[in-house]
Amino acid sequence: MVYENKKQKEDGLRQVLEEMKALYEQNQSDVNEVKSGGRSDLIPTIKFRHCSLLRNRRCAVAYLYDRLLRIRALRWEYGSVLPNALRFHMSAEEMEWFNHYKKSLATYMRSLGGDEGLDITQDMKPPKSLYIEVRCLKDYGEFEVDDGTSVLLKKNSQHFLPRWKCEQLVRQGVLEHVLS
């Protein structure tokens, strides 16, 4: 749903808020009628409108919160820099929420044991082997492996490299894990 047109979301939300305003104002006026004019026959309608208001609020908040959960998932999937295509579908406030979230997460990760902390957004899968076969998807250039040796990551070249060194590049789309 984050991919849904941002404008649609904003329009939809605005309509809900306008409807709420209208319902509330009708209720205000009816409540006055009840108080001053003794029109207690209006009470069921007032209650009904109030239920509508609560429902509208519940739906609006649920929708917005669901979007937040998807945006949160983006941090774990794409990293801290989101592709422009995704950012386009987020409102300014959502972007702000995202920035606060990733900052909060970064602070937490830095606090984990030792000086550098632990990046728990890595190592998402149990390690099966020490080395993996990877194919290079884009030209990357020199890449240093252990012992000071380096490999040239050219597009379409294949390498047998330590898994932990490659993980970052695989997630960035530079390398592709070849499963034979």
């Binding site: 939300l13 808020l17 709420m20 305003k21 509330y24 208001l53 609560l54 609020r57 519940r58 609006a60 908040v61 917005l64 919160y65 937040l68 949160r72 409102s91 406030e93 959502e94 702000e96 929420w97 606060h100 979230y101 909060s104 997460l105 602070t107 937490y108 606090s111 984990l112 044991g113 030792g114 632990l118 990046d119 728990i120 890595q122 190592d123 998402m124 899968k125 149990p126 390690p127 020490l130 012992d147 330590p162 898994r163 932990w164």
Partner: protein, 194 residues
């Protein structure tokens, strides 16, 4: 993934009271492995240590991720519980996790307020998150292994037709039981969730 926050085991259910050293211990081992690696370059042991390191790193990351996910999922309830800790009760969260949880709540509340709530009628501008966000289902069933023999555990009925009954838990036996029934046993370490 199970419901509440636990410090002793990975996929377990309790709002356990103890702050366990496991993450710290694992990190220490990770660092030890790192040192060993530097010391024995070129040896076959390096590979083995490296594998071990990766495994430790994975287990640790997975465990911490699970905790964060639970914190995010149940944040109003967890924070409410933290507020009402009695004297001598230990927190289920590390200090850093508590900070994270508070920030998550503040961030979300601010967002909802600015985007929707402040544009709503005056009497509807506050949402009680404790009521809107689902709370952990402590009645869900969990698997456990008994470490210390327990006698006379009271099992409350689920339906009106049933009645309370009492069971004994033999050491080493495994059970499938409602979490709420055995919650204190998880906290004390008498049983282990599997």
């Amino acid at each position: 993934m199970t419901e509440a926050l636990d410090l002793t085991g990975r996929d377990s259910d309790a709002g356990s009271e103890e702050v366990v050293l496991t993450p710290a211990e694992l990190i220490e081992r990770l660092e030890q492995e790192e040192n060993l690696r530097r010391a024995k370059k070129g040896d076959l042991k390096v590979s083995i240590h490296r594998m071990e390191m990766e495994r430790i790193r994975y287990v640790l990351s997975s465990y911490l991720r699970c905790r964060l996910m639970k914190i995010e999922k149940f944040f109003p309830h967890i924070l409410a519980k933290e507020k009402t800790l009695h004297e001598g009760e230990l927190s289920s969260l590390s200090p850093e996790e508590l900070v994270f949880a508070k920030q998550y709540m503040a961030n979300t509340e601010t967002y909802l307020k600015n985007v929707a709530l402040k544009h709503m009628p005056p009497n509807l501008q506050t949402v009680d998150l404790l009521r809107s966000v689902p709370k952990p289902d402590l009645d869900s069933y969990v698997f456990l292994r008994v470490k210390e023999r327990q006698e006379n555990i009271l099992v409350e009925p689920e339906t009106d037709e049933q009645r309370d009954y009492v069971i004994d838990l033999e050491e080493g036996s495994q059970h499938l039981i409602r979490y709420k029934t055995i919650a204190p046993l998880v906290a004390s370490g008498a049983v282990q969730l599997i």
